[in-house]
């Protein structure tokens, strides 16, 4: 089973090295990664996630707007009828924001310094859960 994931950057933030690094790391771990590039709106990311039938969405933010933008992607997915697709996020995110983000429906938050293996494992687990549930529901 191949897992398809989307890596995207919502909002006005051009710092994409982190996102590209994760995209490549996931590719090298055998994932099919749909990379949607910088400066996307949450609705654009959600639409791409639906059309590409990804099992998880990964978001990166370096601009400090994660508290607004990450939950906005979760909402946009729900609006597109895809609230079952898990959202994971990372970037320059202060430790005190992690709990808030989790409560807003972000499955995992990766702060600076997280080992890449941890991130890959989290994506694998998130994808597995999403696909299993989808197959059970049919």
């Amino acid at each position: 089973m191949k897992y398809r994931v989307l890596i995207g950057k919502p909002g006005l933030d051009g710092h994409d090295r982190g996102a590209k690094f994760i995209a490549r790391a996931l590719r090298d771990a055998g994932f099919e990664v749909i990379y949607t590039g910088i400066r996307r709106t949450p609705a654009e990311i959600a639409a791409a996630a639906v059309q590409e039938d990804v099992a998880a969405v990964g978001l990166s933010s370096m601009s400090g707007a994660h508290l607004r933008l990450f939950p906005a992607v979760v909402d946009a997915l729900a609006q597109a009828g895809a609230d079952d697709i898990p959202v994971l996020g990372g970037g320059i995110i202060p430790a005190e924001d992690v709990e808030t983000m989790r409560k807003a429906g972000i499955r995992e938050i990766f702060t600076p310094g997280t080992p890449v293996d941890t991130i890959i494992a989290a994506f694998t687990e998130a994808c597995k859960m999403q696909r299993d549930r989808e197959n059970n529901e049919g």
Binding site: E44, A48, A80
Partner: protein
């Protein structure tokens, strides 16, 4: 399986144009799930007959994705629903892939009448044709008037993909020199239309002249070569016009029918190989060969094979 309630529901939703059902259906086929057969058999045949599968191929950097984006804009002006299958290679080492063609089509990201699907080659020689062909039909059944198959078109499996299309346009740009020389042998022969993209760049005129030598008939030379500047939309309306004219010709002269028949055979063979391969692999593990020479061992392996299916 016919009558499978899950498949029936999926079919109903995808025929209604539901984006999730459509995407899910393509995944089922791509992952070769057991439901795929019943699903594909239940697709609206009339819509599949009416769709135009347009192959868009050319070297990396020629502007295929940008041109695809411009063609989408032109097609949406005519109120057509459009499907795009963008094929990129998988890494032969990890099996993973980085698929970024969508970035050049983001202008249409919020338009649900534009269905974009990225597909990785998944490192297989076969199987890709079957997946891409099926995906094109699923998109057609969901109401797409045109499905664009975008691929680099170099190498055998990608050439096969090109041959799935009803009509193929080769996208070139000035400054590729040797690459184009290398392509001449294979791809130029299957291209119905030649698009000189980035026509505002130096060398475009020369490239157009070179391309003119591909067609011997002066009328074809006139009608089969188009110049575009995809990022500005220049020449795209004319290109689309020519595409539809050619489609009309191919439909009336039997060419389209002949090509569909050929791609049917191609896909059928592809599926057959995929089905057989799994069985062969299994038998390979349990067989003790009398020969140490692979060619002879292969004969032993396939002996009496047909009975196993």
């Amino acid at each position: 399986m016919k009558g499978d309630p899950t498949v029936d529901r999926l079919l109903r939703h995808l025929h209604g144009g539901d984006p999730r059902a459509l995407a899910r259906a393509i995944t089922l086929v791509e992952d070769q799930q057991p439901e795929a057969a019943g699903l594909l058999a239940g697709l609206d045949q009339k819509r599949i007959e009416d769709v135009l599968v347009l192959g868009l191929t050319g070297p990396p950097g020629a502007g295929k994705s940008t041109l695809t984006g411009a063609l989408i804009t032109a097609l949406r002006k005519q109120k057509y629903r459009v499907g795009i299958i963008a094929i990129d290679p998988s890494s032969p080492i990890s099996g993973g892939a980085l698929l970024g063609d969508r970035i050049r089509m983001m202008e249409h990201a919020l338009d649900w009448e534009v269905v974009v699907r990225s597909m990785a080659t998944r490192g297989r020689l076969g199987g890709l044709c079957a997946s891409a062909g099926a995906a094109a039909r699923i998109m057609a059944a969901s109401g797409c008037r045109v499905v664009i198959l975008e691929t680099v078109g170099i190498g055998q499996s990608e050439m096969d993909i090109v041959r799935l299309a009803d009509l193929t346009a080769l996208v070139l740009a000035p400054g590729f020199g040797d690459d184009i020389q290398a392509m001449k042998a294979g791809i130029l022969e299957v291209a119905d239309l030649l698009v000189v993209n980035k026509a505002d760049q130096p060398g475009a005129g020369k490239l157009q002249l070179e391309m003119a030598t591909v067609f011997t008939d002066p009328k074809e030379r006139e009608e089969r070569i188009c110049a575009t500047v995809a990022n500005e939309g220049t020449g795209v309306a004319i290109l689309l016009d020519r595409i539809f004219t050619l489609e009309g010709e191919f439909r009336s002269n039997g060419q389209l029918h002949a090509r569909r028949k050929r791609s049917f055979q191609l896909e059928t063979l592809d599926w057959a190989v995929e089905i057989v391969k799994a069985d062969l692999r299994e038998k390979l593990q349990t067989t003790t060969f009398t020969s140490t020479e692979p060619r002879q061992a292969a004969m032993e392996l396939v002996k009496g094979f047909g009975k196993r299916i």
